[in-house]
């Protein structure tokens, strides 16, 4: 029942931007961001429940209609093997979104870990982490991604690891600078003088606040991850057919541009819409956070 007074005082003191605050106020008034969020959830839902909505099987072939234009049977036409484009779009969404999701999980976790280590320990540890970050910022990432994806030989679980491993730098930098800022705050000083352990300071007091700005880069990163995955798959180094992703569907559709243009329009349009939505949400979050911290 009894709330420790000091705890409250700290909460008061540290009333910077908080996650609940972001989704509570402000964000709701941002119409493009809200519409985008709904759109993302809708596409996610339909993709996850793909078997319920798809009229055909993922790899079901209709030999009578190879590379066909849209018709009542196949509302978006068929691809070069006679597979239903609409069905593959739904299943492709599953793979594309999940790969992006795990890429972000990996990239953001790595970024948070590196950023926290650098920001908390400072000194030589910090310099080492910064050096690593600089190394990753100086490499031609997309070329390396292509090499890594081709070395992985299309193993689907390797793609998120590879994308995550090359996209943690921004998060690390944000978290590090938040750590640097927060550790000088009075409430951390107070905690330390009360004898709170390092562990507790990092995980209970600094980290929860340091990761708030990460939400923006993680959301925008989702769009980037989808673009990277689809680019890799489009070039033939990412997810390999017969597994569909929005990227490799476009690779196949390239040859059918003349006869079945819809097969080329649809996957790219979905990539565009989803990335646009994530970027709008990220912009909305950024605006809210910027306003809160003012």
């Amino acid at each position: 029942m009894r709330q420790p007074q000091a705890r409250n005082a700290w909460d008061e003191r540290s009333s910077g931007p908080s996650l609940s605050g972001v989704f509570g106020g402000g964000f709701r008034d941002d119409r493009p961001a809200v519409i985008s969020l709904i759109l993302i959830l809708l596409i996610l839902l339909i993709s996850v429940m793909a078997p319920l909505f798809s009229p055909y099987g993922m790899n079901e072939i209709d030999l009578d209609r190879v590379g066909a234009a849209p018709s009542p049977d196949h509302i978006l036409g068929t691809d070069e093997l006679g597979r239903d484009v609409f069905t593959r779009l739904l299943y492709g969404g599953r793979y594309s979104l999940f790969i992006a999701f795990f890429s972000i999980i990996i990239g953001v976790s790595a970024g948070i870990i590196f950023g926290s280590i650098a920001g908390y320990f400072r000194g030589p540890v910090d310099r080492a982490v910064c050096g690593l970050t600089d190394l990753f910022l100086s490499i031609p990432v997309f070329l390396i991604l292509m090499v890594a994806a081709s070395a992985a030989g299309g193993k689907i679980f390797v793609i998120p690891i590879v994308i995550g491993a090359t996209s943690w730098m921004e998060t690390a930098r944000t978290v590090r600078s938040e750590f640097m800022r927060l550790r000088q705050e009075e409430f951390i000083e107070a905690a330390r003088s009360l004898g709170v352990s390092d562990y507790s300071i990092v995980f209970r007091h600094i980290l929860p606040q340091a990761v708030v700005p990460v939400t923006v880069s993680a959301t925008a990163g989702f769009a980037a991850a989808i673009l990277i995955e689809s680019s890799l798959s489009f070039l033939g180094f990412g997810v390999q057919p017969p597994l569909p992703t929005w990227g490799n569907m476009l690779n196949n559709a390239q040859s059918l541009l003349r006869t079945a243009p819809v097969a080329a329009v649809a996957p790219g349009f979905l990539i565009f819409i989803v990335c646009l939505s994530f970027n709008f949400v990220a912009a909305g979050l950024k605006r809210v956070l910027a306003r809160d911290s003012e």
Partner: protein, 341 residues
């Protein structure tokens, strides 16, 4: 400052070595290894394979192979021979260089013009309809998959309307209009992402400069917005944008992989793509090493520009420099959003 430049240049050596080691080991992870494609050829016998392995030194252990390659590249400045064509990799790169430079240059010019126009217009009319439209188009420009816009452009402008040729590059005679027609589509597509992000930078730079006292004075004197932007803010806003542009230049170099593939443009990006498809180690490694060096050098150039603008940077820490403009990701459009300030 000279010391600092020297230090940075010396630093590039371990960086490039690290990158080349990573890529070197990854290339050897590829299923079948470097001779994978040959092994699947029925006409190639086991003896042939062993001989080829020996010729290329592939029978030795990976570290030894790396050391040999390292000695060849960094001490003798020889990128080696392509395992596919048997030709010198440096010559292959040099041959493709003009095409890539042409495409890059054109894309750069378009991105500059569009970026500046968008940036200035949205700064002058900030908060108004035109600013909002540009802000939405910028986000859209960063969200669009380049390979898809490329395909769509090909479909609409070449297949349907027949205005532009469907890819390829003309090399003959100087001012052939056909040459222009070939480049305009890929260059526009390649420039889109850059234009979108540069527009934001210039807008942000102009607005930032607009907060200065001298701008308030200018406004108090009754100067018009246009005059303020061009005579007073521009100088302060342009240089940061220029440093971002310098840093992004090498990403145009490698970022053209997708554009060059879609438009069958015979540049370095396509050379890399084909090399990777055929598991041509020497070629892939050579291009990676050269583009890493370019990225590092242009980052340095960008930092120098920043230093000229703001000498205070010299006194701050060097690490974790605010490089928010550097696109570490060379994918045509991905990543640009994340680096938006």
């Amino acid at each position: 400052m000279g010391m600092m430049i020297l230090k940075r240049i010396v630093w590039t050596i371990p960086l490039v070595i690290c990158v080349s080691m990573i890529v070197f080991s990854m290339m050897h992870l590829t299923p079948g290894g470097p001779v994978g494609t040959l092994a699947s050829n029925p006409k190639v016998t086991g003896d042939d394979l062993a001989r080829i392995r020996e010729n290329y030194g592939l029978d030795r252990s990976l570290p030894v192979q790396y050391l040999c390659w390292f000695r060849q590249v960094f001490l003798r400045f020889d990128l080696g021979r392509s395992q596919v064509t048997g030709r010198s990799v440096s010559r292959m790169i040099v041959e493709r260089l003009p095409a890539t430079l042409e495409l890059m240059g054109m894309a750069y010019i378009i991105a500059l013009l569009v970026g500046f126009a968008v940036g200035v217009l949205s700064a002058v009319y900030r908060g108004r309809l035109i600013d909002q439209i540009f802000s939405i188009t910028s986000i859209a420009g960063m969200s669009v998959p380049v390979f898809w816009t490329g395909l769509m452009a090909l479909y609409i402008f070449s297949l349907k309307l027949g205005i532009f040729p469907a890819g390829g590059r003309l090399t003959g005679g100087g001012a052939d209009p056909g040459r222009f027609m070939h480049i305009i589509l890929p260059a526009t597509i390649l420039s889109m992402t850059y234009a979108a992000s540069w527009g934001r930078y210039i807008r942000a730079g102009l607005l930032d400069a607009g907060k200065g006292d001298f701008i308030r004075t200018a406004r108090a004197k009754g100067l018009g917005e246009w005059k303020i932007v061009f005579k007073h803010s521009m100088r302060n806003a342009v240089l940061p944008a220029v440093s971002v542009m310098a840093m992004q230049l090498p990403t145009l170099f490698t970022g053209a992989v997708i554009t060059e593939t879609v438009f069958s443009w015979p540049g370095i990006g396509r050379l890399f793509y084909e090399g990777l498809q055929r598991q041509d180690n020497a070629r892939v490694l050579g291009i990676v090493v050269i583009s890493s060096m370019l990225i590092i050098l242009f980052n340095l150039a960008g930092d120098l520009i920043n230093m000229i603008i703001d000498p205070r940077i010299l006194n701050k820490g060097v690490s974790f420099r605010d490089r928010s403009g550097v696109s570490g990701l060379a994918v045509d459009s991905a990543g640009a959003t994340r680096r938006e300030k």
